[in-house]
Amino acid sequence: MSWEVVIGLEIHAQLTTNTKIFSGSSIAYGAQPNTQACSIDLGMPGMLPVLNEAVIGKSIRLALALNAEIGKKSVFERKNYFYPDLPKGYQTSQLQYPIVGKGTLEIEVDGVKKIIGVTRAHLEEDAGKSVHGILPGMSGIDLNRAGTPLLEIVSEPDMRSAKEAVAYARKMHELVQYLGICDGNMQEGSFRVDSNVSVRRPGAPLGTRTELKNINSFRFIEKAIEFEIARQIEVLESGGKIVQETRLYDADNDVTRSMRSKEEANDYRYFPCPDLLPVVITDEDIEAVRAQMPELPDAKRARYVAEFGLSDYDAGVLTGSRELAEYFEAVLAATGGKDAKVCANWIMSDLSGALNRAGLSISQSPISAQHLAGMIARIQDNTISGKLAKQVFDAMWSGEGSADDIIASKGLKQITDSGAIEALVEEVLANNPAQVEAYKAGQEKMLGYFVGQIMKASGGQANPGQVNQILKAKLGG
């Protein structure tokens, strides 16, 4: 008898605000411990929270993108528990009335589309962190992260495989970045995925789940879930029971390990936070956000295919991130919007290759969209050949200026004077009588040899089309 896998995800997306959700402290990553924690973040006596209103618009954005219900009156509640990195002894969160209600997200796995339910998304403050192993015999507390705004996005248990779970996580990751509400940096913890995994016999009630936490790459999420599914099936098939617990993934050994048992359920004693008023969202607020909504990835992909004639594959690659899509659209616009395929090819092959080798993201590209467009324009008007363009590209990468500057300074302008090309052709044919004989005897591959020689003689600058045309005329005549 087979097993059915049931997975639901809880994603913590750190919102891209300048300051914390309830104080004016910066949330910039990587500062010295406790340099970005004010009296409010420290939970000092008499300090009060004031909501950073930037989080409201960002939450509405997500709601609109997920076609979700919007909590017209959402309420902050206190989740009470003691922990050294939780300064107030409670986390301000939302429970009964979240800002984002039921919605959906469509994923695609191996060409099959599936709708995944989103249960809710609620606003909350992050905790600080405990630092071990720096102070001898003591643990340190760094409260820089305390009060960082999070949107916790909770899915329905709708996913039936590790692949589906990762497809959902990737889609959400792409979406929040498109929406400009989260920078998606998984290494810095800006986008954290917790997976609830269980297995059951088809048609049976839900099995006991375990939660996989703190996994900072999609690849490891997939491997961790795969391992956990296999482990649970093995336990159940050998007559054992699954314990509800949190498990951590050990990437070095590709296993999950128990972190803490949830058997003794915590009582968080939630109640509405009396220091904060309910967040009231009007229809006008929603319409104002709707008017500012960026084009979402699915719509953008469809438009690239329909409007620019790109393949599904190319459209998928170019819309892989909002920054890449914006780069592509900037190049295309600057080249007059004529040849999307050429622009796409340069970005997807040469530029992406160079960025990958250098470990840079598109927003860090040494070649601006304007410069790349300038080069493509010179190909389109035959100033340079595709081959010369590679040289121009390399020079632009090294920061030598625009394509026009480089063509001028390096003398890379293409030779298009047919008289000059004719002279080169005649010279090469005169110097290679044996090869001419061979060609005439039927060895047509000699044509390529001649083109190579002619291009070499021109220092690579002869227009290849004209070379071919004149060469064929000479040989034929």
């Binding site: 000092m44 006596p45 008499g46 300090m47 009470n80 050294p84 300064p87 409670y90 109640f271 220091d275």
Partner: protein, 484 residues
């Protein structure tokens, strides 16, 4: 000098007849002389006071002084005061020097009121007698055997004994009005949201409200003007632009409809206190007010509702006192659990622990609906009682407390009887309404207060009614003989 009214002090300061330095020194001398027996101050701040007095004198000379510039003030030890110990009368915060000012402290510093010190109170404002202070009980200046009321008992005592001309207090369930009544002074709890809670150590956030404690209603209006105002740092702070709480002083009481609820004169009310209160209402009537009978049928639900909701909020508000970042930390903790358990067990007194436990219980899984949610419903019923009553009257009058000040130690072993000391004041906090206590007479040489409650934002009206009453009476001018 301590027998002058604030108006007289201000006139003399502005005329250059006295200086703020002289005035402040006079009060510091009186504190040195009398506070040993009263224990009304937790901390006296002579250096800060004299420095501020000098600055106030400069303003008085260069013409930038306001009405209250140079008049010293005492802050309840619940208001964080930059560089000064802010203990909330708890061992937990005995070592806590606040690194910032509460909004109220900032406001009064701007006016130029020298800070004499921080007044004693019930620990974390939880109590009705100021006996739960870590620093020991404050004594009532009228009778050292009696409590001064609470939790702002220190503040009430310093005004009654002339150890400060003006004081600040906070009122969560009656903590300004009840000690004002017990000590024969005037105190008003404004509409919730009128005075910013920023920098006030939180007890029960949805009830806590600060207000002035003074000899007269006129003086309370002036101090409230200085304390109140919108503060963006408190999300529950109200925009009351241009509000002037002294604006209605000197309005005649003709046609005023005074509601007298039968429920406020029922079982448990000391007959002598009732007589004092009824006489006071008769005086108001004599000035042209009309008496109407109103009903607050859910009055008896208020105390049970309050003693679920306030402890629930307190149990969460006091979680931050965990021995990790500030406040009391136990010696040599074995591990984290030990650090939490012993720091809190040692740092908090019995009443605070009792309320934390009651509150945590009311919020816990399985009990939340039966206690917390139910108490919220009762809170709405109590508030609706007032809404209906104010359809028939402008203000409501009754006793502040069922008895005059009780004896020190009389109720410390019986928390429930202590809680009932606030049965008339608590409903006002549940509804968030303004309420005022004005001295109305004595029973056995212990003062009794008249309670005046109005609709939201009616502070100016309440203060005028009290002021008119004080034009015809002199209860508020009386001082205990040994402190005159």
């Amino acid at each position: 000098m301590h027998n002058l009214t604030i108006k007289q002090m201000s006139e003399k300061l502005h005329a250059g007849e006295i200086t703020s330095v002289q005035l402040t020194q006079h009060y510091l001398d009186r504190i040195a002389k009398y506070d040993g027996e009263l224990n009304a101050y937790v901390t006296v701040t002579p250096e800060l006071a004299m420095e501020m007095a000098k600055q106030a004198d400069e303003r008085l000379q260069n013409g930038t002084a306001e009405l209250l510039t140079g008049i010293p003030v005492a802050h309840k030890d619940i208001f964080c005061t930059d560089g000064v110990k802010t203990s909330c009368s708890s061992k937990m915060l005995d070592n806590f020097i606040a690194p910032y000012d509460a909004h109220v402290v900032t406001q009064l510093k701007k006016v130029g009121m020298p800070i004499l010190g921080k007044t004693n109170m019930d620990e974390f404002a939880m109590g009705s007698s100021s006996e739960s202070s870590y620093y020991g009980p404050t004594r009532n200046p009228w009778d050292h055997q009696a409590v001064p009321g609470g939790s702002s008992g220190g503040a009430a005592a310093v005004i009654a004994a002339g150890l400060a001309p003006m004081a600040t207090g906070t009122d969560t369930g009656g903590s300004i009005r009840q000690p004002a009544a017990f000590c024969g002074i005037t105190g008003i709890k404004p509409t919730y949201g009128t005075v910013s809670r920023f920098g006030i150590v939180a007890y029960a956030s949805s009830f806590d409200q600060a207000g002035p404690m003074t000899r007269s209603a006129e003086e309370a209006a002036w101090l409230l003007n200085a304390m109140a105002g919108f503060d963006e740092r408190d999300s529950t702070s109200l925009q009351r632009d241009g509000a002037d709480y002294a604006a209605e002083l000197n309005q005649p009481l003709n046609g005023l409809k005074v509601g007298v609820p039968a429920e406020y004169f029922g079982e448990g009310l000391d007959p002598q206190v009732e007589k004092v209160v009824r006489d006071a209402i008769a005086e108001i009537q004599k000035q042209g007010a009309e008496i109407v009978e109103v009903s607050l049928p859910n009055k008896d639900l208020a105390v049970p509702s309050y003693y679920v909701l306030a402890p629930a909020e307190a149990s969460s508000n006091l979680s931050r006192f965990d021995g990790v970042r500030f406040g009391h930390r136990c010696e040599k903790p074995k591990d984290l659990q030990d650090l939490y358990t012993r720091s809190r067990a040692e740092g908090f007194g019995a009443e605070v622990k009792r309320r934390i436990m009651v509150g945590a219980y009311a919020l816990s899984a399985g009990f939340y609906d039966a206690y917390y949610l139910k108490a919220q419903k009762l809170r709405r019923m109590v508030r609706d009682d007032f809404t209906r009553a104010f359809e028939q009257c402008d203000v409501i009058m009754g006793p502040v407390a069922p008895t005059p000040a009780f004896n020190i130690g009389e109720k410390t072993d019986d928390p429930t009887s202590m809680y009932l000391a606030d049965l008339y004041t608590i409903p006002v906090n549940l509804a968030g309404l303004p309420g005022l206590s004005v001295p109305a007479g004595f029973v056995n040489n212990r003062p009794v207060g008249l309670h005046i409650v109005g609709p939201y934002f009616s502070e100016a009206k309440l203060l005028n009614i009290a002021h008119q009453y004080q034009q015809a009476t002199d209860w508020h001018k009386q001082m205990p003989a040994q402190y005159q």
